[in-house]
Amino acid sequence: MSDDTHKDAATKDASAAAKDTAAKDSAGKGAAGKAEGAREFLSVRDLRIHFDTDDGLVKSVDGVSFDLKAGQTLGIVGESGSGKSVTSLGIMGLHTSDRARISGEIWLDGEELIGADKQRVRELRGQKMAMIFQDPLSALHPYYTVGAQIVEAYRVHNKADKKTARKRAVEMLDRVGIPEPARRFNDFPHQFSGGMRQRAMIAMALVNNPQLLIADEPTTALDVTVQAQILDLIRDLQKEFGSAVVMITHDLGVVAEIADRLLVMYAGRCIERGTSEQVFEHPQHPYTWGLLGSMPRIDREQTDRLVPVKGAPPSLINVPSGCAFHPRCPYADVPPDNVTRTERPELRETTGGHFSACHMTREQREKIWTEEIAPKL
């Protein structure tokens, strides 16, 4: 019973939020500053991806909406199991399991992807939208040379002979900074270092000049010095190709440098969304505060210890009632009447284009942020 009402409330909440954003975006472009007049290249509306498992329905993504313009970067942040990767695979149409239940809308350059012809989505994959994965060693096929795998990606969408495709692949390897690209073309993935493998993955993803690049934790498997190089590379290539980028990460430090907009996910839902500046300077949700508090910063005092977010991410089968974050939230009792445990908070706008889903009033949050959280960061 309570489940049903939640669902209804959630649907209303998400679609209301979606309309809200759409209205805001079309009316108040000035607030966003960048890319005025450009239409949304990627629009996700009330995306739900549920999986029918033997243990119950797993609501991996439960009503997520966002927009992304060409040339912009959206960072999706959250812990493992928050639904970031599932969202991105949903956009790519890569949920092949027949147990996946996908609903909502995904508009890519004016084309609806959910419910679209599978063949059409396949054509778009790798050509208009491409993806970089977390662990490049397991994401590259161990039996084929790096070059052959890039050539394959190119020839899926281009009627090119092997020689042209090879030339193009070497060009891309060179572009992503692999030394002696013509020679390394014939190497197998295991002969590459971790950073080079990820570069090769990027070369493979960008070989068809995709307008949307989804990077799913592209630096997680790499060591820190290489991480920065890869991020720089993605940023440079984005400028060069003008593509929209969705950067998925659990590391706020990664998106801080690269993202124009941010979306914070928790238990399959968006709990805060806004421009990078808004979310970093005036975060509105206790979970975002927690993430910021657990992020190492160079300007922080050495003596301060990092504060982890207490507790573990919730099970997606039995999502906590009310606000999914309430069992871990230090401020769960601030709003009256136990509302955090009984009612799911709606995604509400605080300032222009900045949304968050929290029961506390704006004043309460402002007070806690300026008095308790910000001084410690």
Binding site: T96, Q127, A130, A153, M204
Partner: protein
């Protein structure tokens, strides 16, 4: 790659030498370690009431009175250069490779093996072709249509195949199609050289019953391998490129899914080449397996040892081939 091949071949030769030593020890050293005298060992080759002179002659012939290392040396020399036996009335030259001389049947082992090998090989090769085709294709289809009626049916039947012993399926087929119900086949071995069509026709029942056993296992292994591979990250990458699903499966999935099967196939096939013992007896084929059984029941050491060595040889060679094929398929193997 060349260095890798040379290394593997060298290791294979060394392994064969070790295998021959171990086999030799089992058959000639172990009985003596267990307290058997050389007289009683030699007596096995003579009739029921042994004449001491005859036993002496056997001991001399087999070289049982010589030190062990000398015996092993003669044994190896026989394998490489041949040996002479003069037992009783007819002295015999056993040309290389000399696997010994059976004093019970008064024949050298090697010509017998040569005569019987084609029967076993026909059985093994034909069955292998059938089980590879049926087993692997069933496994792939089952994996791709996981949970479907087809998958359940195929896995059910393959469970039967894995559990039903050869002497049941073989005999059941014989009862159905040869003896009791339909009299379609009169199963006996006909040489391929004499009559290829008859050769194939007569081998259908043994092939099918042998292939049923193995294809069941291979279907299950292929299905498991395929399911695992299709969940790999690089399959997702292949899909993310926009490849059509058929290409994802064939080019990216199958190749990795089937690689482990090569190892298992190498072993299974090698063992069969050394004699499909039960199948041969069920269908009364006089192949290597039947020969081995004859050797065991007659306590005829040279025969048992010959077949054992030959089987070991096949296993070593097949393993070598498997290693080389592996290196060709998986580039990561070549380096390490």
């Amino acid at each position: 790659m060349a260095a890798y091949i040379i290394r593997r071949v060298f290791a294979a030769v060394l392994l064969l030498l070790v295998v021959s030593a171990v086999t030799f020890a089992i058959f000639y050293l172990l009985p003596r370690a267990a307290g058997q005298s050389i007289q009683s060992m030699a007596a096995q080759y003579v009739g029921k009431s042994p004449d001491p002179d005859v036993i002496k002659a056997v001991i001399k012939n087999l070289g049982l009175d010589q030190p062990i290392y000398e015996q092993y040396w003669h044994f190896i020399k026989g394998l490489v250069a041949g040996a002479n036996y003069s037992f009783g009335p007819d002295p015999a030259h056993c040309s290389a490779p000399c696997f010994g001389y059976s004093f019970k049947t008064h024949t050298a082992v090697w010509p017998q093996i040569q005569q019987r090998a084609p029967i076993t090989f026909s059985l093994a090769i034909g069955a292998a072709v059938i089980w590879l085709i049926t087993g692997i294709s069933t496994g792939i289809l089952s994996a791709l249509k996981r949970g479907s009626i087809w998958d359940r049916l195929a896995m059910g039947i393959s469970l039967m195949g894995v559990s039903l012993p050869m002497f049941f399926t073989g005999l059941a087929l014989l009862a159905l199609f040869s003896f009791n119900w339909l009299h379609i086949w009169n199963v006996h071995y006909v040489s391929f050289v004499d009559n290829p069509a008859q050769w194939a026709w007569n081998l259908i029942l043994p092939w099918v019953s042998l292939a049923f056993l193995y294809s069941a296992l291979y279907a299950r292994l292929t299905r498991a391998g395929m399911l695992e591979t299709m969940g790999e990250d690089y399959i997702r990458t292949a899909r993310a490129k926009g490849l059509v699903e058929r290409k994802v499966i064939v080019k990216h999935g199958l190749r990795s899914a089937l690689t482990p099967l090569i190892t298992i196939f190498g072993m299974d096939f090698a063992l069969l080449l050394g004699g499909a013992v039960i199948t041969e007896s069920v269908f009364s084929f006089q192949g290597l397996g039947a020969y081995a059984i004859q050797g065991v029941t007659d306590n005829d050491l040279p025969i048992v040892m010959g077949v054992t060595l030959l089987t070991a040889f096949f296993i070593v060679v097949c393993n070598l081939l498997v290693d080389l094929v592996y290196a060709a398929i998986d580039p990561r193997v070549r380096l390490s």
